[in-house]
Symmetry: C2
Subunit: 281 residues, 2 copies
């Protein structure tokens, strides 16, 4: 769990300026520049962890952009542009790297956030691609905090078995988030994208006095997925959100309710699934 | 020269949107969001290349921010905020990493661009820190292109022997750039920060029909530096700029003139120094 511990100690006590409207701890940070709100996030794709050298390079680039743009969806925001760096070991060729960027550029442009800068450096082993996304918020930025007692817990798409292919082919739920925001307005209380696993990511929506209770019979399973996989596989890049009214059924599935409680994520059978998901080393 | 080849092939043909006012190829990219101009850049600091594991960790963090904020200076811009990621091998401790971020946070705040987000990931060997800087432009963004025949070539501070300590202790020339912009206005024609070496970085200010002629007797040498080191050592993080009138002497030293020619950087003795500097592998 080093990643989470470090994130907490490094980023939580950031002493911020008046330009910073939203600091570390959500899917994106928010700046106020002049009278314009700007959202920014950054995400790293490690070859050997999130993909392998055997993954088709255009799909590596696609995934680097898609993972970062999934944060834009989680805020209900709109992409404007992106920066992408590469840290490259000597064994990869220029043509491999060009293919990675070709895959990245294609989707970055398609999704409205073209790559407008970057940096290339050399390393001694693992290739790392870092993507920074710049976006503009909708009428409101939908935060992780904000769930209320009685809220429906909802999920876009399906969960589990992402490793079979979804993790390389998914489209960030930017349009769905914008439609949810338009349809639900201020009834959309909290939102996150699922990267580490439903259990763990759901725990970010709880508070000291609220728990999330999930009916595992309602989980929409991806082909080949088990209920356990839907709870803990991770890399779903679906939107998990809570809202005061039911969302349109073509956009999302209701999988539970928010209740008074003590910050855990439970199944209706009473099992605590708050820590189910990717183990950060 | 892989880095430069890759940069050219990857970033130069970016198909940009109307929001992107300045794409890859300068020190920062520029977005127009609403009626607000925003500058962004990203830079990687590799442990083993730019610093070592023996470097005091607070100075590693300081340098990660300083390198990236030097790009802000090179545009004559003002920092607003920054994002910083870490990609960490298992042999480094949490306390080492916390010290790196402590050093980074201190200067980021001091220089007006506090860290408001980031990401932590694991790798199998080299530690990499990536910093994204967000800034607002001055009355104009000072680009690399724009040098004119007859311009003075000028440099802030001193050059050479940065490795003795300057590369860890320098302050990005943000204030100096703003003062230059205020003093010189539209007579400030082009600017870049020197990271790879005077010769190489000066070559970015030339064009097909203009050459830069540098009088090496005029180079302000840092303590312990030779003329050769001033031309090619790199990591000076000083501003190299061209302007139609002489700048105030407390801000910069005139080291040569821009002339009609064929895109090279020459000494007054006629030596081509366009490729002197850091060799990108």
């Amino acid at each position: 769990m080093r990643e989470r511990e470090l994130l907490q100690s490094i980023y939580k006590n950031a002493s911020l300026s008046s330009a910073i409207r939203l600091g570390p701890g959500d899917d994106m940070g928010e700046l106020m520049i002049g009278n314009q709100r700007i959202l920014c996030s950054v995400d790293q794709l490690i070859v050997g962890t999130h993909v392998t050298l055997e993954t088709p390079p255009t799909l590596i680039g696609r995934k680097a952009i898609a993972r970062c743009f999934s944060d834009i969806a989680a805020m209900g925001a709109t992409p404007v542009g992106s920066l992408m760096t590469a840290c490259l070991p000597s064994e990869v060729t220029n043509s491999w790297c060009n293919e990675v960027f070709s895959g990245a550029k294609e989707v970055a442009e398609k999704w409205g956030g073209p790559i407008f800068g970057g940096d290339i450096a050399s390393t001694d082993r693992t290739a790392v691609f870092t993507v920074t996304a710049i976006a503009t918020p909708g009428t409101q930025s939908v935060l992780r905090t904000g769930a209320q007692n009685g809220d429906y817990i909802c999920i876009t798409g399906q969960l589990g078995n992402s490793i079979a292919g979804h993790h390389l082919s998914f489209t960030p739920r930017i349009k769905e988030a914008q439609e949810l925001l338009k349809t639900l307005g201020s009834d959309l209380h909290s939102m996150i994208d699922i990267s580490d696993g439903l259990g763990q990511d759901a725990s970010h929506l709880t508070s000291e006095s609220l728990q999330l209770v999930i009916d595992t019979d309602l989980l929409p399973l991806r082909e080949g997925a088990t209920v356990e996989g839907a709870i803990g596989d991770g890399e779903d890049y679906e939107l998990l959100f809570t809202c005061a009214v039911k969302p349109p059924s073509h956009l999302a599935t209701v999988i539970g309710r928010v209740e008074f409680g003590e910050g855990t994520v439970l199944t209706t059978a009473g099992n605590d699934i708050s820590t189910c998901g990717w183990v950060h080393t």
